[in-house]
């Protein structure tokens, strides 16, 4: 089941394939989700989701509260389990009982609505912990890398600060840098600006735009329609556990086909 947008992406990226196994002539999706069903008890939260994310693509997921956006995102890095269907991340089938959860997760950076920085560590320590413990980098190398990332998110002067001394926008930028420090193959964002004061939204979105421009593969759940339009390669509209509509931002925002999409967009735009 490949949708047209995905086919287009495949064509676009045919010659940029950097597969390590070398067996692929065409770019394969980095993440594929195949008719995934997820239940909380008897409540079906995901009702057969199909979805592909291609390398360097920015996929934006929009939809009303409770539609299952976070749950879908959390299934991708095994923070939630699913009951039916299959998710394949970087060639690994997540339903495989022998799956090494940590190996999947280290390839997917995740940014949370509530930042979730480690409050007992300085900004720099937040950034170097996982590269040292998981990637087995040397401390010097990790620090060098972390400083470059802090520079990139505009927080070089904050490396010694504790998270509680930073504004929300600064904390979220640190959280993005922390995820990037693992050199993930893709980044997952779950409403990264929803907990921010309005004046801080832009600084975080700007960092995300830079990332997109550099070719980072991104899955972004957001209510920032401006960002979706400007940065998204593809937009997915979810409602009640289903993908109702998807396409380019121009199509979804310009001429939505589904009534539910129209109703949602008329409320948020």
């Amino acid at each position: 089941m490949v949708d047209t947008a995905a086919v287009n992406r495949t064509d676009v990226y045919t010659d940029t394939s950097t597969s390590t196994s070398g067996k692929m002539a065409k770019t394969e999706p980095l993440i594929s989700v195949r008719s995934v069903h997820k239940f909380f008890g008897t409540h079906e939260v995901l009702k057969g989701i199909d979805l592909e994310v291609y390398p360097q693509e920015v996929l934006v997921i929009i939809g009303p509260s409770g539609s299952g956006k976070s749950t879908l995102l959390r299934c991708l890095n095994l923070l939630e389990t699913y009951q039916k269907g299959e998710i394949i991340v970087d060639g690994k089938r997540l339903s495989d009982p022998k799956i090494q959860e940590d190996e999947v997760r280290r390839e997917l950076g995740m940014v949370f609505q509530q930042f979730n920085l480690f409050p007992h560590m300085t900004v720099l320590e937040n950034l170097i912990l996982a590269p040292i413990k998981v990637r087995k980098k040397s401390r010097e190398e990790a620090i060098k890398d972390a400083r470059l990332l802090l520079q990139k998110v505009g927080l070089s002067d904050k490396e010694g600060a504790y998270p509680d001394a930073l504004s929300g926008g600064q904390q979220q930028r640190v959280a993005i840098a922390r995820a990037l420090a693992m050199r993930p193959k893709a980044m997952l964002f779950d409403e990264p600006t929803s907990a921010l004061d309005p004046e801080m939204v832009k600084e975080v979105l700007d960092v995300m735009k830079d990332l997109a421009r550099e070719g980072m593969t991104m899955v972004v759940v957001t209510h920032e329609m401006g960002f979706a339009r400007e940065v998204g390669d593809r937009v997915i509209f979810m409602d009640q556990g289903e993908i109702v509509e998807q396409g380019t931002p121009q199509d979804v925002f310009g001429q939505p086909k589904n009534e539910r999409t129209k109703a949602f967009l008329s409320k948020v735009l």
Binding site: N77, D102, E103, R106, F118, V134, Y162
Partner: protein
């Protein structure tokens, strides 16, 4: 006996004789030493027991959880006095094949008892750390154990310092029950002194003051430690 004479006699009770304590000073000094040794080692071992029991109680597997729950409930649900007697006169002699020294029995009893309470402190401390911290750590690829060690426990520890300090003070006072098995601690010194002199006021007032001084010192050490470990909370919250 006239009313006045009766009052006189009553007041003569308060005619404290400091020289009694002086005569038995070695007993009390040894008592201070053992009271501190017994409670510190008890809580020290209790910390390890409590960490394991607390984590076991949070485990998913019933086979790990159940023994932890049984241990915790038994030692919190029965009197320490009974636990001391059982250990010293029944359990340890059976296991060792001889009478254990009161000091050893005492440390084991205090360790097992405080371990049960400390496990609840650990569990509450761990659970008080927001779930988001664990998820953030796991999303970076850290294993559950690493996330516990580097993210959850250091934060939980800070929150556990006040209740742990409180537990140390409780154990210090409860160690007086070990006089029942003649462990050479403070209450035992008072008991022996009273037996030899038939004077209850001096020895028991003396150890009351000593206990009070030690617990006040401990309380101030704990609150100093707590302030020292308070990270980055000064500028914003």
């Amino acid at each position: 006996m006239s009313f006045v004479e009766q009052i006189n006699q009553g007041l003569s009770w308060l005619d404290l004789r400091v020289d009694i304590i002086w005569d038995y000073r070695d007993l009390f000094i040894r008592g201070i030493y053992y009271t501190i040794i017994l409670s510190m080692s008890g809580v020290g071992i209790g910390l390890v027991l409590g960490l394991f029991a607390g984590m076991a109680k949070l485990a998913r597997s019933l086979w790990i959880r159940w023994p932890a729950i049984a241990y915790i409930e038994f030692f919190r649900g029965t009197p320490l006095f009974v636990q001391i007697m059982l250990l010293h006169f029944a359990v340890l002699p059976t296991l060792l094949g001889r009478s254990p020294s009161p000091v050893i029995s005492g440390i084991i009893a205090l360790a097992l008892n405080s371990g049960a309470y400390i496990s609840e402190i650990f569990r509450a401390g761990i659970q008080s750390i927001a779930r988001g911290q664990m998820e953030a750590a796991r999303s970076l690829g850290l294993s559950h154990g690493m996330a516990m060690r580097y993210i959850i426990l250091p934060q939980a520890f800070r929150r556990m310092i006040p209740p742990l300090g409180n537990e140390l003070i409780v154990v210090l006072k409860d160690s007086s029950l070990l006089s029942a098995i003649a462990a050479p601690e403070l209450a035992n010194a008072a008991r022996i002194t009273m037996g030899a002199t038939s004077r209850p006021w001096e020895p028991y007032m003396t150890i009351a003051v000593i206990y009070l001084v030690i617990t006040l010192i401990l309380a101030s050490l704990v609150s100093r430690l707590e302030r020292k470990l308070d990270y980055g909370r000064h500028s914003r919250s």
